[in-house]
């Protein structure tokens, strides 16, 4: 049977659109530099709409008969829509930024689209090599994007660090895959699962070593402690919208891969890797949140805060139940909306003031009340306060962890979440309590005002009426556990 090429229409749209954006940019050199970003945003939107058409499709993409390398199901659809949505917002917040600070606007927008494409393939992959190639596609896009501000030393440094450590982690990941292949003799997820469930006892050591390498490799991608070292530098050095993308697209895609790989292929060996991930999760959430306490730069603060969030999300991977899966997908969406809101606000502020120091936010409530209020919304949501998305998504995540027998981990998570409130409050304090250093009110550009408003409404919506999204996440996660 020929592979069903119609399963990948959203991917085609992204790829073609990316080429188109570059072509337009090349052919119209007089084009204003924010236009390619808007154009690309349309492409991401189109791909997102195309993805919706695959609801309730449940079909594998068989490269060779019998070898399913990609699988389109509700899990895929959920993540595709999420990734496309993220890309739309990233591109919208990029437009003005690119116009003010970057060259090569066409390539920038095209690479954002390709990175999204890579993320989507990561979600779909049900075969080790395919998933790995998809992961590399995403990573290479990010190496480029992080160092896109060519004339800025920081950006170059960040790009270099990210690439060197990323390559190293890829090597680890590949080595782990080879060990798993050695034990199971196959690279498809289904085949691995089958081989693992009737394996001989003597193979356990090789398996565990394989898991260690794979977890280390993926740990780099999601920025789990102790593989997080590049994160703060990459976040600080990258162009600001790319920082936002690192904290959303990259994490969402990597977690989608992580969860699919471990709950379909490796689930029969759950006992072998559960403790590793649980341990990493605990260390990650505590470390990320504790180190965040002493940050003075907004981007580094968000870097550590996102490390803390990774710790929370790892609970779901360690639990590896359907409930945990739905909580993970749900939390990921809430986190993405919230983080995008926060970063759009930072972009507006940065475009205007050229600073991303927390101290420079002083008196923002006087100078631009809308931005300050929106930022409070985002920060409270990240801290997990009621009325905002973060409260319920975290709640579900922790309860599902507790339910899966990881009581201690949920307990640690609640404490870590408490710690996070402190540094979010310190940012809020700057904006509301401290008097402004620079006088004068300023306005938010209309388009970005709209973007922020939409995201803030989203944060409230998910906090007040999360049922539709949770149902969707639940349906999506159910596909992984249908066997």
């Amino acid at each position: 049977m020929n592979p069903d090429y119609s399963l990948l229409i959203p991917e085609y749209i992204l790829a073609v659109w990316a080429a188109l954006v570059v072509a337009v940019d090349v052919m119209m050199p007089k084009l204003r530099r924010d236009v390619p970003a808007y154009l690309a945003a349309l492409g991401a939107l189109a791909a997102g709409i195309a993805s919706v058409l695959y609801i309730d499709v449940n079909k594998g993409f068989e490269a060779i008969p019998g070898v399913t390398i990609m699988h389109v199901d509700d899990y895929t659809t959920y993540m595709r829509v999420l990734l496309c949505g993220i890309a739309v917002f990233i591109l919208l917040m990029s437009a003005q930024f690119v116009r003010m600070r970057l060259s090569h606007a066409g390539e920038y927008s095209a690479i954002v689209l390709v990175a999204t494409l890579g993320g989507m393939l990561m979600v779909e992959g049900t075969e080790l090599i395919t998933s790995w190639i998809a992961l590399e596609l995403l990573s290479f896009c990010f190496y480029t994007l992080v160092s896109f501000a060519r004339r800025e030393l920081r950006s170059n440094e960040a790009g270099l660090k990210y690439m060197l450590l990323g390559a190293f982690s890829t090597a680890l990941f590949l080595y782990g895959l080879s060990l798993i292949y050695g034990v199971t003799g196959t690279t498809t997820y289904d085949g691995i699962a089958a081989a693992l469930s009737n394996r001989g006892e003597d193979l356990t050591l090789a398996l565990v070593v394989g898991f260690v390498f794979i977890i280390a490799g993926l740990g780099f991608k999601v920025a789990a402690v102790p593989f997080h070292m590049y994160t703060p530098d990459a976040y600080q050095g990258a162009p600001l919208p790319i920082t936002a993308m690192l904290s959303t697209t990259s994490k969402a895609a990597a977690f989608a891969l992580f969860f699919r790989l471990f709950t379909t292929a490796f689930l029969p060996a759950h006992e072998e890797w559960k403790w590793m991930i649980a341990l990493i999760a605990a260390v990650t959430m505590m470390w990320g949140n504790l180190v965040a306490l002493q940050q003075t730069n907004l981007r580094r603060l968000f870097a550590y805060s996102s490390i803390g969030q990774v710790g929370f999300m790892l609970i779901a991977v360690a639990a590896a139940t359907q409930d945990a899966g739905s909580s993970l997908l749900f939390h990921m969406a809430g986190y993405a909306v919230t983080n995008l809101a926060a970063f759009t606000i930072i972009v507006v502020f940065f475009n205007r003031e050229g600073s991303d120091e927390i101290a420079d936010l002083a008196g923002l409530a006087e100078r631009q009340p809308f931005l300050a209020l929106a930022m409070v919304t985002a920060l409270f949501s990240l801290a997990g306060m009621p009325l905002f998305a973060g409260f319920f998504t975290k709640f579900m995540l922790f309860v599902s962890g507790w339910d899966a027998g990881l009581e201690w981990l949920s307990g640690v998570a609640v404490v870590a979440s408490l710690i996070s409130l402190y540094y979010y409050l310190m940012v809020i304090r700057q904006m509301y309590v401290i008097a402004p250093r620079v006088p004068g009110r300023f306005r938010t550009p209309a388009l970005l005002w709209g973007v922020i408003a939409v995201l803030v409404v989203g944060v409230f919506f998910l906090g007040i009426w999360p049922a539709p999204l949770l149902d969707a996440a639940d349906t999506a996660a159910a596909f992984l556990f249908r066997a």
Partner: protein, 537 residues
């Protein structure tokens, strides 16, 4: 009054009104300060009217949950089973007076805050969100929403204190927030444990209570003994339970007037209310085991609080410590686990709420003119500020427990309950009450009488807004002091319906405290159990 409409929409309205008012305020430009004041005043009156309606409409005598209404919010997804999380609301005879208390205090608080000039829009938005959370917690019958609303009431505090506060405001704000949120970590963990252990896939409190009270049910005594302290300490921090009370004097000292009123008047009651809802009702076996411990802590609260109050020089700090002491009575009353004691505790929650709100409203009126709260620098204010002095003295005398004041009714019940179950602790409670008389009268002597300090010849009496607030609050104090029956009629049957509560007067003919004499309490299995292990006095 028996035929009032008991639709659950009244409860929905009571917490949605503040939330929607806040939402409307977001869209009013901040330069229309007058409009915002007016809106705040109107919403205060509406909230008061609604809460009064709920209080009056609550049918006396049954002790059951009324005004009940439930909407499924989310079910059959992820970890949630059928009826997973629902917006389940209702009041029993314990919650009804608390709702009324909140209505009274917020009406007074909104009016007192009219004089806030600095960003008054933001202030009201946060204050109304806070109040929404308070109302919501009192009416919630779903564990998730209980916690949701509880957190909602705690969060705006940080900004309210840090932006509009006074003495050491940032320190006070951060200390308060961090301690209260740290406490909710314990509640959080307790909730996870209960949810998983009960295994009904639902956060509905009524159903969880049923599971908890099933003999040999999934929530075995061992489990209850482990997790009861999580809930009670978690809620107890908000109720200023010793040794977790330290946020309270600092927080109150730093907070602006209306926030102090609400926080001491209502929010601390949330803590005690949480102990009833999530402690006594959710962990009956745990409560039976741990209540003597709570008794000890509550006694330390009462005694330590009143002695500390004796040593304070700052008005607000003194009132803060007196609140700690009064909340100690509440804890002691709850820990008696007998009808009279818990009745007294709930009455005290109301009495202390209006009393302390009155205190803070008056201190605010003085501080805004004098810019100091050092008691020693004042003297002879009674002649200079007569209205201020009268209101202040009403609050003080209620705190001391003078007959015909709300405080008397409450403390009397608590002491009776204590002497029935724990006579020794009763003695300590009376000692603490005597100390409170000492610090209140000392303050009277220093501030209101004594020689007038000419430095303050520019002081004027309190403004109309404060007179209004003072009148409402003082009237509540006197009403409950003179006519406690509407309160006890509602509270007693509900208290008796709590698991493990014994009625020491049930063997004798029914007293006024338990008006529905057709109900035979001797049949209650809890009571027999307690008699068997010798807990009843």
């Amino acid at each position: 009054m028996d035929n009032l409409n008991q639709s659950g929409y009244w409860l929905l309205a009571v917490w949605l009104v503040p939330l929607l008012t806040a939402l409307v305020m977001v869209f009013i430009p901040s330069r229309f300060a007058g409009v915002i004041r007016g809106l705040a005043g109107v919403s205060g009156v509406v909230m008061f009217a609604l809460s009064l309606y709920i209080f009056i409409g609550y049918q006396v005598g049954e002790g059951n949950i009324q005004f009940e209404k439930s909407w499924v919010w989310m079910e059959n997804a992820g970890i949630l089973g059928p009826g997973g999380i629902s917006l389940h609301m209702g009041v029993d005879g314990i919650a009804a007076p608390m709702v009324l208390l909140t209505g009274i205090v917020i009406m007074a608080g909104n009016v007192v805050s009219w004089k806030i000039q600095f960003r008054n829009k933001d202030f009201y938005i946060l204050l109304l969100v806070l109040v929404s959370g308070v109302f919501g917690t009192f009416v919630a019958l779903d564990m998730f929403f209980f916690f949701f609303m509880y957190e909602l009431a705690v969060i705006p505090m940080y900004l309210l204190i840090a932006v509009w506060g006074s003495t050491r405001k940032e320190y006070g704000a951060m200390k308060l927030t961090v301690m209260l949120v740290a406490a909710s970590v314990l509640i959080f963990v307790g909730m996870f444990a209960v949810y998983t252990k009960a295994g009904i896939g639902s956060f509905d409190l009524v159903r969880l209570w049923a599971v908890a009270q099933t003999p040999n049910g999934p929530m075995d005594p061992q489990f209850q003994k482990i997790f009861f302290p999580f809930m009670v300490i978690g809620c107890g921090v908000l109720g200023a339970l010793w040794p977790f009370h330290t946020w309270s004097p600092d927080g109150h000292m730093a907070a602006p007037t209306a926030v102090s009123m609400l926080h001491a008047g209502v929010l601390m009651k949330l803590g005690a209310f949480g102990i009833i809802r999530l402690g006594i009702q959710l962990f009956p076996e745990g409560a039976e085991f741990w209540m003597p411990g709570l008794m000890v802590l509550g006694t330390i609260n009462a005694v330590y609080g009143s002695f500390s109050a004796l040593a304070q020089r700052d008005f607000k700090q003194m009132i803060g410590y007196s609140s700690v002491s009064h909340m100690g009575y509440v804890m002691m009353g709850l820990a008696t686990m007998n009808l009279v004691g818990i009745n007294g505790a709930v009455l005290q929650m109301f009495a202390h709420g209006v009393m302390t709100a009155l205190f803070f409203a008056m201190v605010g009126g003085l501080y805004d003119q004098a810019h100091t709260r050092e008691m020693a620098v004042f003297g002879g204010l009674a002649g200079k500020m007569p209205k201020f002095s009268i209101f202040f003295m009403i609050a003080g005398l209620s705190g001391v427990g003078l007959p015909a004041m709300a405080g008397f009714v409450a403390e009397f019940n608590i002491f009776v309950g204590l002497f029935r179950s724990y006579p020794l602790f009763g003695v300590l409670a009376v000692l603490s009450a005597a100390t409170s008389a000492a610090y209140v009268f000392r303050m009277f002597a220093i501030v209101f009488f004594g020689r007038f300090n000419t430095r303050w010849s520019g002081l004027r009496d309190i403004q109309k807004t404060e007179v209004f607030a003072g009148t409402v609050l003082a009237a509540s104090i006197l009403f409950m002091g003179v006519l406690p029956k509407p309160f006890t009629d509602r509270i007693s049957p509900s208290v008796l319906a709590l698991p493990g509560v014994i009625d020491p007067t049930a063997d004798t003919p029914q007293t006024a405290e338990t008006p529905n004499s057709d109900h035979n309490y001797d049949l209650r299995p809890e009571r027999r159990r307690h008699d068997a292990i010798g807990w009843s006095a």
